[in-house]
Symmetry: C2
Subunit: 668 residues, 2 copies
């Protein structure tokens, strides 16, 4: 039987060779963490390479994603379908061994990492998902949900602010099955970290209420003991600080930043292999080592054992089993279409002015009771975001059988944790903050979109309409800049009905996140034909029309739809023929076929006016050279909302003026 060190060296060799072959990549961290990985993946982690989708597998996250060759080597060696050819094509176009790990569950890649700190926060979300689902579904002696979340992270992850947000929350919520290995190698890209990172990290994590240990990360047995101790700690998340040497084994570069992000060079690689007594050619693993690494049989046995447990569960609790299966498959309940109908019908009954954040909450109260996988939350703005349902119950350290997370003032941590919740499966997370503070979480939103995760972002206080809190809190560029994130659907509804449809569309949209944008201030309810009601889901539709070919089309979203309608009515009353298009979701409208888009925005109508209380930039695409855009391309001000709308020209009068001027412009 090979020694731990010999087994760890396989990872080192594969990492060196793949980076050398690609002439690009990061050998240092895989070489430094190889001993830890060997212990975890061979002695502790519960997984079945033959079925990466097994619900109750342990989750493994490489938060220091640049160490991707560590993960690919582990996946290959343990038996996941990551072939040696994939390792040979590391970082090449078309390979599945990208520069940074990209979420691909078929291969065993749980999440996309690279942007530092976020993997750790994903891990917090996954551990939280496990705790919540276990609380809801496990039965006495039938712990069918019972797994750990293991995270590798580096100095970079721990310098990032998101590590504070996520780990402070994990400590508060007592996520005892979250276990983090910190690759404490003292080196980051700029060199020795002590010049810019002098934290007493063990003490910091003790301050978060974590179980903390410090070990020699190059000593497999010591790591094994610490891992066993961490796993036996039920209440507190565990941090194992592992003193390591970056690029361990490289004869002259080990312990230096030179091993971090570039190939070691042929000579250094040869020296390391010699020290390892490694004689096999590149991309060849001696059979004995390969065999010792294979987890195929052990993994199948582990899943089989669980299957027996699950079989007993299914017999004893068939309904719960079916419900859990449905949720983990990401399928909506069979009666979802009725729920959707009920939500829209309820919204249609609203008559008076209502803030869309209130409309949103009303919809939540209709759908939430029918959709128990909805897991709500807010970054400490519950009352303002209106994210609480009547049936909401807080997740507490000692009682995870709830459906609402008080995330604290941690927008980024919340978002990345929601990504982890969604990646885990079994829950559909939604979380609120003010639209302006989407900035704090922006890369987390991007990661949700990149990973195609159903994460619902509730952003209220969506314009100058929030009033007195002033320019720091008033979004200007945020609507447009969120629309620019590929694969993010942004809905900015105009009233209660559009709010209900937006929620339902977001819930049905499985392949990406949705941003749901709501007002603080009250909005009037729009009149709507059955056809218009049906068409909301198309993202843009004719809300009000004139008889005959329109001379001008007005496009508006959210709180500006009502004032646009007023302007359109005035224009039509003056004998003009003007159409109003409500455009709650530009992404969705863009995805419609050309014929539908033409029925809404006829190419022949070049007099077009767009109005939105935010940046004008993206609207030029819809109004064209002959069009006009009413918006705000500067910061707001502190004052009463109606005064601000007037001051900044977001008024029905202004829209009317632009309608008339643009019609005149077309005629002359």
């Amino acid at each position: 039987m090979p020694t731990r060190r010999e087994l760890a060296n396989v990872i080192r060799v594969l990492a060196m060779d793949a980076v050398q072959q690609a002439n690009s990549g990061h050998p240092g961290a895989p070489m430094g963490m190889a001993d830890i990985a060997e212990v975890l993946w061979r002695d502790f982690m519960k997984y079945n390479p033959g079925n990466p989708h097994w619900w109750n597998r342990d989750r493994f996250i490489l938060s220091n994603g640049h160490a991707s060759m560590l993960l690919y080597a582990l996946l290959h060696l343990s038996g996941y379908p990551v072939t040696m050819d994939e390792l040979r094509n590391f970082r090449q176009l078309g390979s599945r061994t990208a520069g940074h790990p990209e979420h691909d569950l078929d291969l065993g890649i749980e999440t996309t990492t690279g942007p530092l700190g976020q993997g750790l926060a994903n891990g917090v979300g996954m551990a939280l998902a496990e705790k919540i689902l276990a609380a809801h579904f496990n039965r006495p002696d039938l712990p069918i949900i019972d797994h750990c979340t293991w995270v590798f992270c580096g100095d970079g992850c721990l310098m990032e602010g998101i590590s504070h947000e996520a780990c402070s929350l994990a400590g508060t919520l007592k996520l005892g099955k979250l276990i983090v290995f910190y690759d404490d190698n003292g080196i980051s890209i700029d060199g020795k970290v002590k010049g810019w990172f002098a934290d007493d990290t063990p003490k910091r994590f003790e301050a978060y209420g974590w179980h903390v240990q410090s070990v020699d990360g190059q000593d497999g047995e010591a790591v094994a003991r610490a891992t066993a101790s961490a796993r036996s700690e039920a209440d507190r998340p565990s941090m194992i600080c592992c003193k390591t040497v970056i690029g361990w084994g490289a004869p002259t570069k080990a312990g230096t930043k030179a091993t971090h992000g570039e190939p070691l060079g042929a000579e250094e690689v040869a020296g390391a292999k010699q020290a390892f007594n490694w004689t096999a050619p590149p991309f060849t693993v001696p059979a004995e080592l390969q065999k010792a690494w294979s987890h195929t049989e052990a993994g199948r046995a582990a899943e089989d054992e669980w299957k027996q447990l699950y079989g007993r569960y299914r017999s004893a609790h068939p309904e719960a089993a079916a419900e859990l299966a449905r949720r983990l498959d990401g399928k909506l309940p069979a009666d979802w279409s009725q729920t959707r109908k009920a939500a829209v019908t309820a919204a249609q009954a609203v008559t008076g002015a209502q803030a869309t954040r209130v409309s949103s909450q009303a919809t939540l109260n209709v759908i939430g009771i029918k959709l128990p996988e909805l897991l709500g939350g807010s970054a400490d703005l519950t009352g303002s975001n209106n994210t609480l349902q009547k049936i909401s119950k807080a997740i507490e350290p000692g009682d995870a059988a709830g459906n609402y997370v008080y995330y604290g003032v941690r927008e980024f941590g919340m978002t990345a944790a929601m990504n982890g919740l969604a990646l885990h499966g079994g829950l559909i997370p939604y979380g609120g903050t003010f639209l302006t503070f989407s900035d704090y979480a922006r890369n987390g939103v991007r990661m949700a979109a990149l990973m195609h995760q159903r994460v619902l972002l509730v952003y209220t206080h969506d314009s100058i309409g929030l009033g007195e809190d002033g320019p720091t809190h008033q979004p200007i560029e945020h609507l447009n800049s969120l629309r620019l994130i590929p694969n993010l659907s942004l809905w900015r509804p105009a009233d209660a009905v559009e709010s209900a449809v937006a929620w339902c569309e977001a819930i049905e949209h499985e392949s990406g996140p949705s941003a749901l944008i709501f007002t603080r201030q009250g909005l009037a309810q729009m009149p709507r034909t059955p056809a218009a009601l049906e068409a909301i889901a198309r993202g843009g539709y004719v809300l009000a029309d004139c008889t005959g070919a329109p001379q001008c089309v007005v496009i508006a979203t959210g709180s500006e739809v009502a004032l646009a309608l007023e302007a359109v009515k005035s224009a039509n009353a003056r004998g003009k023929c003007v159409r109003l298009v409500s455009m709650p979701c530009t992404e969705r409208f863009d995805a419609q076929d050309a014929a539908y888009r033409e029925t809404v925005l006829p190419a022949a109508v070049t007099a077009r006016v767009a109005v939105e209380a935010g940046s004008t930039g993206l609207w030029w695409r819809y109004v064209g050279s002959g069009g006009r855009v009413i918006g705000i391309d500067h910061y707001g001000a502190s004052g009463k909302a109606p005064e601000l709308f007037k001051k900044f020209g977001i008024t029905a009068d202004h829209v009317l003026q632009e309608i008339l001027a643009s019609i005149k412009g077309t005629v002359t």
Copy 2:
């Protein structure tokens, strides 16, 4: 003489009354922190209300900016030009007492706060500026730069990740004159924080190497003792954890979230006033209290004392005094125009392919030596961002006489600290990271723009051109989404010459931040007439033209200019007449007069093609209805850069096709 408590109650009454009058605002924190503020502003802080611009004043930051009435009350009472009428008009349009404090040095408002945690990070920047300037300019027995930075913060600030980034850095850099008061009231918007924030905060800050004390924040004498102790600690930043009661004095609501963000109500206010024995009408401060609060004379005396010191300094070190005065006034050196010329000339001498990040560094090496106020740095990507100058010297805990900050992997903390450095004055900060990770710092960038601060953001690795690191690292939407931030100038130069001009323009642009966008990959040098060279500073200009009226205009930026040029040449070789416009800065181009813009982009030419390796969204405005945009509206991939450009259609061939098709489109 009134008691401490009586003096503190003046703040409480003003806060209650102003919020009541506005029917909007946050009374809780001002009431809870009033006792601390009284101690600091009356017994410790060094300031002169008669001259808010005094260089050597202590800086005060209200990081929990929603407590704005606390600051306004202090400014009013101590003698800054914040009138009682301004307090009466709290949160009203046109008043200078906005919902959240807005940077306005004439009033004594040091920075804009509200987005939580950032004020604290601004404070780190200010304390760092003080330490650096003191190291460079103070002489034995002539400590002309010698002041403290005082920060108030709340639970929200300390939950935010940026508090970790900034405070970890402050501990490492031993910013001993930074003193933070933590309003530990146990309440945030969602209620009692223990459910979502259970940190042992003193322990956490000890882990950062801070000097930490815990006191009863309602006990003025205890606060005074702790403050004295903090001030006497030279080496470590100080955290004073103050146990307080939110809304202290409100008879039934004190200690609850009901006092946080809404008026207390007439009855509660009356009850509090009764408890305070307060009988004066609203917005009236009894003379004895007003007199005790006034800092006008004491402030003048403090500045006068410093002036004597400064006078001796000026006599002994006239050159250093003049240099410091120049820097603190934000004026560039007298020979700046020659420096600029030298930088551009050096760039013109470059012939071969060069990554613009390398061009950027070359420019830095020319200008940095002539511009000692430049303070560089990077979020742990120094070698990749090419931000190090030949003359760069690291700021170290024990030696602040340098000009380069190793910020660590802390993009947001770096950016907000740079805002603080710029706000302090005397330094022009620049800091680098990868363009993608501008996401992490986005609200800090916004705050720089909102506050009109000269902060230079160096963003390298600006497109899929970075290659193998893959989609997490490849910016797509970032160029456009940064352009959407009002008052941010984004420069994406095409070669060495444009890079040099971009740097110089950014340095000359005093009233806002600039983002300088550079490539990882090598770019060819563009041919350029003297007129074209001159016109770079206009943001968009004709780089290559044909004879006669163009049939088509191509607009390109950065790395796409070279391939656009190739396409334009091909088209012109085929007998077409096509113009190439290089558009390094759309904001600057938009600011040119209509006549200039017409000479570059003639309205008559509707066949237009824009090309940029990023989102297409904002380019429609420039190409109009008849135009075409070549860009990337989806995520990138891991692979070699040339293969990615080909795969995603960012090629000269594609541009040529679109040129020809668009000319054809115009003709038919």
